[in-house]
Each structure stands twice: as C-alpha cells, then as structure tokens.
C-alpha cells in the first residue's frame, strides 16, 4: 500500500514536470514558410495576461496578412529563455527579431551578437537599459503618459467646468507605468482647478485589491461626495464597479468611471452602463514593427528609434461592438 502511494505520487510529479517543460519549447506550428516573405523571430515574455496573449495572437495574424513567416518563442517569464531564443533565431538566420524584454537590463551581449550577424532587433511594448542604442533598430511601445492624459482630458470635457472630487486607483507602486499614468492624468485634468484628486491608493492592478480599496474610499469619503474614479487599469476598475454596486451606488452615473487598457470586460461594463470610458493600450505592437522592417529591408529606410502606438479613447456608444471584436482575442 505504501509502495503504491509512493509510485503514484512520483508519477503525478513527473506528469507535472513534463507538463511544464512542454510549454517552454518553441512554437513549431507557426513555422510555415512563405516564399519570398521575411522570416521574423519573436521572443515573447509569456502569456501571463489576456493582453499578452492578444499581443501574440495579433503578431501571428498580422504576420500572415503580410506574408511574413513568424517564429514565436514563449520565454515563460525567464530572461535566460529569451536570450536562448534570440541566439537560436540568430543561428537560424532570421531576417529580423522582435523582442518583448521581460526585464530592462542584461541585453547588451546577446543583442551585440544579433548586431554582429546583421539582424535588426525591434523592441516591443517595453524598453531596455543600454549604453549603446545602436543595439536595436527601433522600439514600438505605447505612450503611457499620453494614456493618462487622454483619460484626464475626457473627464475634464465631460464635466465642462463642474466641480469634481476624484478618487484614484494606482497600479503597483514603483512601476514607471504607474508614475506615467498618474502624471498624464494630472496633466489632463489641469486647468481651472475644478477637478481634484482627493484620495489615491494602490490597488496593485488587480480586481480584488481594486474592490477593497474602492470599498475603503466609499466609507472614508462623505456619502455622495465622490464624483469620479480614475483607475490605472481596467481590472481595478472592474473591482471598483462591484464595490460601488454593493454599496448601493450606480457606477457610470452616480460616480463616473474612467480607466486604461481596453480589456474586453471593461467594454462589457460600458455596454451595461457601469463604466464611462477607457483608453486602449493596443495589443497590436507587431503590426507597426512589421511595416518598418519591411521598408527597412526593401530600401533601407531607417525608422525612428521610438514608434508610439495610438492611445485611443473608447466610449459606451461603440462598447458592445468592440466587446464582440475583442472577446476572442484576449
């Protein structure tokens, strides 16, 4: 009996281990050769969020549209895996490499190897720290200050000069993204001084913390005195919407709700009248990268070092259609 349990446990453990091993390998299904087109390697961080899964999906579909052969490698959040993937892309002699770096430092050596092999590298959605910017051709990221600014400007226009006490749900403290989205929003609402941020607290980018912090805001402020919520991401807003509903408030009308990212669930909330606006962080980072690489390979057009993706504002009128468009992407 004891021996059986031992072997059973060992077998289970082995199953778990091999299960983990499988995911780390390069995606072979995507290796279709399109004659004449470019072959591009994409070292992706992982699939830790719906947004990142959408980024990978769009990288595939945008490549197919352009006749580009894409090889995707999932690094499972490990820089070592990304370095391995870049080296393997160099060895395979790809035409270009897309890199979504998991951390910002430690890329000089492997990017130097790519440069020596004359393979251009484009950074996607995050930047790296390096003393030598010639290690990469270009970068495609969103302008996170602009995202906050768009959200702030929307609120200022919506209020048209009325006084408003805003509560802010910040992301995880210490992330540059958080400082930028905060700064941008403050710039967006600046002006006559009718809009004031009265409380700000971190909701760690999660639904659960967003809900807990919003619950606290509602209790700490006098009833009816909060006029709007600004959340650094949609997930915290979805939590905050639940907190408002449970406190007997109507999010979207009693309290205006504006957040950033454009995940499918916030479009659903907007369609239901629970949220008022979101600023999209587009997952289509690869599309612009393909266009610049195609031009660069064709006639040597050197792209700018930083290409910003648009920060588009979405409102409830298009929410239902946008939800349908996105729900299978994320």
């Amino acid at each position: 009996m004891k021996g059986f349990a031992t072997w059973g446990a060992m077998a289970l453990m082995l199953a778990v281990m091999t299960g983990c091993g499988e995911k780390a390998s390069t995606d072979k299904a995507a290796d279709k050769t399109a004659p004449g087109g470019l072959t591009i390697g994409f070292s992706q961080i992982g699939s830790e969020s719906g947004w990142r899964a959408a980024e990978t999906k769009l990288a595939r579909s945008e490549a197919e549209k352009r006749g580009i052969t894409l090889k995707v490698s999932d690094a499972q959040q490990q820089q070592a895996n990304q370095i391995k993937a870049v080296r393997s892309f160099i060895a395979q002699g790809v035409d270009a490499i897309l890199l979504a770096p998991v951390i910002s430092s430690g890329w000089d050596e492997v990017l130097g190897e790519a440069k020596a092999a004359n393979i251009p590298v484009v950074l996607l959605d995050r930047l790296i720290d390096t003393a030598d910017p010639s290690l990469y051709l270009s970068s495609v990221t969103s302008d996170t200050v602009e995202e906050g600014r768009v959200a702030g400007r929307w609120l200022a226009e919506k209020l048209a000069g009325r006084d408003c006490r805003v509560v802010e749900l910040q992301g995880t403290i210490g992330a540059s993204l958080v400082a930028n989205r905060k700064k941008g929003f403050e710039e967006g609402i600046a002006g006559p001084g009718n809009i004031q941020i009265v409380r700000t607290q971190s909701g760690d980018f999660t639904r659960a913390k967003g809900k807990e912090v919003m619950e606290g805001f509602i209790k700490a402020e006098a009833p009816g005195s909060i006029c709007a919520v600004y959340a650094h991401n949609d997930d915290m807003m979805i939590g905050a919407i639940q907190a408002m509903k449970e406190a007997g408030l109507k999010p979207g009308s009693d309290i205006l709700a504006v957040s950033i990212d454009g995940v499918p669930d916030i479009f659903k909330a907007m369609a239901d009248g629970d949220a008022n606006a979101t600023v999209e962080l587009t997952p289509n980072m690869a599309g612009p990268a393909y266009d610049m690489l195609t031009a660069y390979k064709k006639d040597g057009t050197v792209p700018p070092k930083w290409v910003q993706t648009p920060s588009t504002l979405y409102l409830p009128d298009t929410a239902a259609a946008e939800y349908e468009r996105r729900k299978d992407l994320y």
Binding site: V16, C20, E48, Q170, I173, R207, A208, F217, K219, A220
Partner: protein, 334 residues
C-alpha cells in the same frame, strides 16, 4: 477548559485588536457605525471581518500544520487553483454546487499531495509545499489560460455576496471553520496529539499516536481551508484571477498564526488566537488603506507595525505587557 488561562493568552491580542480598531476610528470617524442595508450589515467592522475571512480560513488550516513543526507555503497557490476550478466548472455549464464541490475536492487533493510528500517521502515541509506554491500557480494559469476567467453564475457569486442574519457569508464560513476546528482539536485529544507530533514525532509514535495519519490530515485540512478561501476570493470578484488570487497570502497566514502565539518550532497552537491574529492584520491593512497617506508608505507602515507587534509579544517584553494588561483588566473589573 480553563477559561482564565485562555483569557490570559487572549488578553494581549484583544488589546492589540482594540488598538488597531481605535486607529481605524481615528482615520475614519464613522468606522464603528453599523447600518443595515438591504438586510445586510454594512460598516467598518464588518469590512474587516469580511476582507479578513480568507486569511482567517488560511490561519485555521495553517495553525495545526505549524503545530506539527511543519509549514504550508502552498495555500496561496491552492486558492488560485480552487478558484480557477470553480470558475471553469460553472463556465462549462455545471451547476454551482458541483463547482463548489470540485473546488473543495481540488483543495483536498492538493493537501493530500503535500501530506504525502512530507509524510511518506519525508521531505522538509518548507520544500515540499514550495513545490506546489510554484507549480500551483502554473496549474491555475493553465486552467484559466492566463485570463481572468469571469462568470455570471449567481450561485457561485453568492459564496461572497450572500448573507445570513445580516452577516456576509464569508464571515460566517470563517467563523464556522474556526469554531468547528477549535472544538474538534480542543474538545477531543486531537489537538494534544498534533502538538505531541510537533514536539517529538518519535515519542508521539512510541506513545501510540498515529503520527503519519495525523500529519497527512493537517495538510489535507490546510488544503481544504485554502480551497474555501479561494472560493471566497473568486466569488468576490466574480472571476478567477490565477495570477493574483491568494498571492502572498501564505505569508499573511503564517504571520497571523505567529501573532496568535503559535511557535514555528511546533508543539503549541491556538486556533482562536490565530484567527485574532488574522483580524489584527486585516485591521491594520484596512486602516492603512483608508488613512489617506501616500500609498508608497503602505508596505513600510505594515512592516513597522508588525515588527512592533512581534517585539511586544517577544519573551523579553511578554511579562511586562502581561503585568500591564493584568493591571488594566483589574482596574476595568473593579
């Protein structure tokens, strides 16, 4: 049961809880107000009980494990797995009771896995449960495919939003688990057996205590409590968030148990005091979140207060505090 002895041990924690509640009143003057809204009690104290319910449950499971000189680092990950299983089950079209049973069953299986590694393979508990702590979140992510798996099933959402006698269901579940477990271990010799395994497994075995079965049992119980906490966390946001559900809560649970006076060297534990520890932690968190201080200070404040609490409870300060609280209570009753 010796009531005065129990009260002596609880006294310093109750005093701490009172201080924490007082701090809450200072940052939000309406804190102690409790109103009835739609048949559900609504107020600061209820929030602390409600938000503290998951860590209370984890502490109820963790205290017996620590009493055997073990530790369960996997409870946060088990919360994530149980939540993911529940959400995936209702989304596959099954009824919510099936989803709840599936989640609890998953918790049992996770606990059994830990128990087998510790008992049969004789792994160090910290290493054995570390395996599931790391792998578990991966398993949960595989189930949710990296997304927040939302659901609309009102039955499953009810685990968090339903209420009975005005109290939110999570509070009742946590209190029921604490009282049930407390009666089970102190109403019978079970608690003594668990402590004897922690003091000396060999002596316990020679004295006829079924040590292996007990060891597996405490890990299974911890897994079950974690699954229940995971159900509450998932129902709370109507979605399974594999990346964040229960993240770092294993540390909160251990801290709650330690504030409750349970020694990490095993051989001594108290369910009631561990639950008080969880409430003290949640009270501090609520106070910091509502204080209006810059969020950059959150972690620092929490660390300073926890350090103070532990110093006050240390053997060096214990007798002084006991004398002080004894004098206070004497004056109070006189």
């Amino acid at each position: 049961m010796n009531t005065p002895a129990w009260f002596a041990a609880a006294r310093s924690r109750l005093l701490l809880l009172a201080i924490v509640l007082l701090a809450n009143v200072l940052v939000a003057p309406g804190f102690l107000e409790v109103r009835l809204v739609d048949g559900r009690l609504f107020g600061g104290i209820i929030d602390i009980l409600n938000r503290g319910a998951p860590v209370m449950l984890l502490a109820v499971g963790m205290a017996p494990v620590i009493a055997t000189r073990g530790i369960d680092l996997s409870v946060g990950a088990v919360m994530a797995i149980a939540g993911a299983v529940a959400a995936a089950t209702v989304n596959a079209g099954h009824a919510w009771p099936v989803a709840i049973l599936a989640a609890l069953g998953t918790g049992l299986a996770c606990g059994l896995w830990n128990g087998v590694l510790v008992t049969i393979f004789r792994m160090q508990p910290i290493v054995a449960t570390l395996i599931l702590m790391v792998a578990g979140r991966g398993i949960a992510q595989m189930i949710t495919q990296g997304r927040v798996l939302t659901f609309t099933d009102a039955g499953l959402a009810g685990v968090s939003s339903a209420s009975l006698l005005g109290l939110p269901l999570p509070v009742l579940l946590a209190l029921a688990a604490a009282i049930g477990t407390g009666l089970l271990v102190r109403g019978t010799a079970l608690g003594l057996f668990i402590e004897s395994v922690g003091t000396s497994p060999r002596a316990a075995r020679l004295a006829g205590v079924p040590a292996p079965a007990l060891l597996i049992g405490v890990y299974v119980w911890s897994g079950l409590m974690a699954a229940l906490a995971g159900l509450i966390a998932t129902a709370d946001i109507r979605g399974a968030d594999a990346n964040n559900a229960g993240l770092w809560l294993e540390l909160d649970a251990i801290l709650a148990v330690v504030i409750g006076g349970t020694s990490l060297y095993g051989g001594r534990f108290s369910i009631g005091l561990s639950v008080l520890g969880a409430l003290i932690l949640q009270g501090m968190r609520t106070c910091i979140l509502r204080s209006g201080l810059p969020p950059e200070l959150n972690l620092l404040l929490m660390a300073v207060v926890v350090a103070l609490v532990l110093v006050v409870q240390s053997p060096a300060c214990g007798p002084v505090l006991a004398r002080m609280t004894a004098r206070l209570t004497r004056r109070g009753t006189a």
